[in-house]
């Protein structure tokens, strides 16, 4: 250095990474654990903030807490319904979407008719049709009225599952069609039969391609369950409506705001869990080198 050597010739070495450096980098790295920790911290702060507002008198805390419990009970009803609609809708949508791409004209026609019908019906109308028809058919048949009531309630859930299946069928079809023809051609060229090609080459790729759109449809159909209160389901929306109508008239607007705010949070939780799960599956199916951005 003293003999005037230019700094470019002998670049000063990068500072050695210290243990603290390393530890800090680990802590702030966007790992799964830091996500959990940040998420939990965010929730705790949010809850504390909302409670604080209540203590400060922005809203009446005791009332807000008193409606939370029934809403929480109704949340589990919503979850129960979603747990039926999503798997049934997915399986049916998967099969129908596949049927729409087969060479068998009859099967394709049937699947197309299904999609055309269920996509063009408003979900509310479907719910009414299914539950009312079930009720009418069984009236006077000697079946326990309680069972008839139960069945017509669940027919409404079936209606929603069939509705989302139509949308998922179209998503699946788009996925299957977007697998390049070269893939099936290559499978043909090594002698793999058509049906096996479908299972080992086309469907795995189609599934990966349609996951983002499926997550979208899942979150949409979760919110469609709010229509079920029209036939008497006491799920999240049904309970929220019920609570608003039983609140004191002088507090109606205020009470509605608090109740629907809480219901909205619970819907958010439900949707967030499902869409995160879909994201997790997306990561599972990610092909190294194929997707640059995510």
């Amino acid at each position: 250095m003293t003999d005037g050597v230019s700094p470019q010739a002998t670049p000063s070495p990068l500072p050695q990474e210290t243990r603290t450096h390393w530890a800090l980098r680990k802590v702030f790295a966007w790992s799964i654990w830091s996500r959990v920790v940040y998420g939990a911290a965010g929730v705790v702060f949010g809850v504390l903030f909302v409670l604080e507002l209540g203590y400060l008198g922005v809203y009446r805390l005791t009332y807000a807490l008193s409606v939370l419990n029934p809403l929480y009970q109704a949340f589990w009803v919503s979850l129960e319904v979603v747990a039926v609609i999503l798997p049934v809708g997915f399986c049916l949508g998967f099969v129908i979407g596949w049927a729409r791409t087969t060479r068998f004209v009859a099967l394709r026609g049937l699947a197309s008719a299904y999609v055309d019908f269920f996509r063009s019906m408003p979900p509310l109308a479907l719910i009414f049709f299914f539950s009312l028809i079930a009720g009418l058919e069984l009236r006077g048949s000697g079946v326990n009225p309680y069972d008839i009531r139960n069945l017509s309630l669940w027919m409404g859930v079936v209606a929603l599952a069939l509705h989302t299946a139509a949308y998922q069928a179209e998503i699946m079809r788009a996925g299957i069609l977007s697998v390049p023809a070269g893939q099936t051609e290559a499978a043909d060229a090594v002698g793999i039969s058509r049906i096996r090609t479908m299972f080992v080459v086309v469907l795995p790729q189609a599934f990966r391609l349609s996951l983002p759109a499926l997550g979208n449809e899942f979150s949409s159909s979760i919110k469609d369950t709010s229509l079920l209160n029209a036939i008497g389901w006491m799920e999240l929306s049904g309970m929220a409506l019920n609570l608003t109508s039983t609140s004191y008239t002088s507090h109606y607007v205020y009470a509605s705001l608090v109740i629907w705010f809480e219901a909205a949070i619970l819907y958010f939780v439900l949707t967030y869990v499902v869409t995160r799960a879909v994201r997790g599956i997306e990561d599972l199916y990610k092909v190294p080198g194929l997707e640059v951005a995510r």
Binding site: P180, G182, Q183, E185, A186, A187, D188, A189, V190, G191, I192, S193, R196, V200, V201, P204, Q205, R208, Y285, V287, P288, G289, L290
Partner: protein, 244 residues
């Protein structure tokens, strides 16, 4: 020399477009036959007809003594006998290199996983990619992908391999890697039909060169005959442009 593949009077039309207009071709076993000619002349369609990816409208194709155009022949069986390598590689993007090679062994020949993997490793070693077993196709260069595709075709133990412009989508360096592998295959006595624009390769490796134009074979012969002493005016003008 027995003929491995015999093509007799193949015709194929897509709608009004006549792509193949009566093609006769003999490929002796162990021979490398290069098909050259302008784009859109039906070279690829001919290859696809040979392993029944495209069904010809008329004519017969024989593999040894078996008429492949016989409707009782299962196309799946034909494709086990005749491998194919595509211009765009067409590797299964969602599977590792190893699985790309073993897929057909597992699902067509019903080999055990261990056996299939042993074959995959030996074939991948043959194309110089034994170290890429667990990579995905998207992580490989074009030339490497094409060599995996060749290994995939070889793994089925085919009697012949068809190459459909195997180097047209590659950079000059990768082209040489792929051609080296193909050259070695030819020397080892694999029957190969190669559609190519690589005239150097055709000159050096081919036993016979076929000049294809407008859906029929215009001329065929040894590389010298076709490249230097072409009889047909169309062939001469094509060669003049290609060879500068």
């Amino acid at each position: 020399m027995t003929s491995a593949i015999r093509v007799r009077g193949i015709r194929k039309a897509f709608g009004d477009l006549e792509v193949l207009r009566g093609v006769d071709l003999d490929v002796n076993s162990g021979d490398v036959v290069c098909i050259v000619g302008p784009s859109g002349s039906g070279k690829s369609t001919l290859l696809r007809c040979i392993n029944l990816l495209v069904t010809p409208d008329e004519g017969e194709i024989y593999l040894g003594d078996v008429a492949l155009t016989n409707p009782h022949i299962r196309p799946e069986w034909v494709r086990q006998q005749i491998g194919m390598v595509f211009q765009q590689f067409n590797l299964f993007t969602h599977l590792t290199v190893k699985k790309n090679v073993t897929l057909a062994l597992r699902h067509v020949k019903h080999y055990k996983r261990k056996e299939a993997e042993k074959i995959a490793i030996s074939q991948l070693t043959r194309v110089g990619l034994a170290d890429k077993l667990n990579s995905y196709p998207a992580q490989l260069s074009g030339g490497q992908q094409q060599r995996v595709a060749i290994a995939r075709a070889l793994a089925m133990g085919p009697k012949a391999i068809l190459f459909d412009e195997p180097t047209s989508a590659l950079d000059p360096e990768s082209i040489q890697d792929v051609l080296t592998v193909m050259r070695r295959l030819g020397e080892e006595g694999m029957t190969m039909v190669v559609v190519t624009h690589e005239m150097g390769f055709a000159k050096e490796v081919a036993d016979r060169v076929v000049f294809f134009d407008a859906g029929r074979i215009l001329e065929e012969g040894t590389p010298d005959e076709i490249f230097d002493r072409a009889g047909h005016e169309r062939t001469q003008s094509f060669m003049k442009k290609i060879l500068r």
